[in-house]
Symmetry: C2
């Protein structure tokens, strides 16, 4: 029913449209135009219509989109009608921030466990979470029914940890380690590199100065 | 000399190619093929050649790219031949992780100041940084010669803070607040939404289960 091969950039925009639909719903709006969605999401009306057309027919010409209906449909498309159990691999500062990040729980992503290899960190408590020994990774994935792993380690141990996660049957990894992970095709990996985001800004500054 | 309108996705890939070129250089490699770069960056040889062709002619047919020369050129294109002074707006957990994030300093981004509105945070020290009062934002931007601001606040105060940053003359903002900022065209804003990254994974899990 759904096309299998939808670009990552499209999926990311759907997630962003959903945020604005929820804002509009909070403000009591019943309908929204593709133009209004486009403006908020920093794209064009044509792009909004194209992104949504992948998933069927929405909206009526001249009337715009039904806010609650489109929101419900986007939640369904994005797999957000259920909750997900998430494991943090690595217990550094960034992992600590992610464990407390309200945006995750609000979207249905529950951090249920944290592991690290550092004896100084193992056994410490983060709210209701207790940092566990990475040696117990496989046991924890099973016991906690983990579905998504977030890898927040330096580059060096990341591939080996990814191999261990894949061996447990985990098929979704959000990778903050600065390394391209090699995984079987069935495993989805999304990379987040915060320095790359800053580099798109330095690029813009550099090219403005030249012009 | 450089095309003004290069897609964000291209710039992000250039930053990723640079990482792998530096790895290859560390391993003593003199040349690299577009295929090897593509494999590491998770893209195709054709895409690598296309991305690089925006910026002139690199590499010789059959010989691949010269690793040090291409690395130097990418650093120049990305504006990484100098350092940037960065202000963190917001002193929560995520800001704390960013302040200590080694990847920023390694790329030339120096966090030189942090501001917050919470009296409990103002005056506390983060290593060599002291959290300052957000009321002093404008003074700090001038005194510290800030060029890039990272907004790490909840949604509610973000637009007003962005307006104040823009009024100081700041033209580059990395925005972690879950809101689309309205800024003049001369200001570059890049948005990072960590929940959206997880949602591309829940999308993949959802659609795998359906197939």
């Amino acid at each position: 029913m759904h096309p299998r091969k939808v670009a990552d950039s499209t999926v990311r925009r759907l997630a962003i449209y959903l945020r604005f639909l929820e804002e509009f719903a909070d403000q009591g709006a019943d309908t929204v135009s593709s133009g209004a969605l486009a403006q908020r999401a920093g794209t064009t009306s044509a792009q909004v219509r194209k992104d949504l057309s992948f998933f069927g027919s929405f909206g009526k010409r001249g009337l715009g989109y039904d806010v609650p209906a489109l929101g419900a449909r986007l939640r369904q498309i994005l797999g957000l009608t259920r909750r997900y159990r998430v494991l943090l691999v690595g217990a550094g500062r960034l992992a600590g921030a992610l464990a407390q990040y309200a945006g995750f729980a609000a979207r249905g992503f529950d951090v249920v466990a944290v592991v690290d290899r550092d004896p100084a960190k193992i056994g410490t408590c983060w709210g209701a979470l207790r940092v566990d020994d990475v040696d117990r990774l496989e046991k924890i994935v099973v016991a906690e029914r983990v579905e998504i792993a977030i890898l927040v380690t330096p580059a060096e141990p990341a591939q080996q940890l990814a191999d261990r996660l894949v061996a447990t049957g985990i098929t979704a990894i959000l990778n903050f380690a600065p390394v391209q992970l090699q995984v079987p095709g069935v495993v989805e990996v999304k990379n987040v590199n915060l320095a790359v985001e800053l580099e798109t800004l330095s690029y813009a500054l550099q090219h403005r100065e030249e012009n």
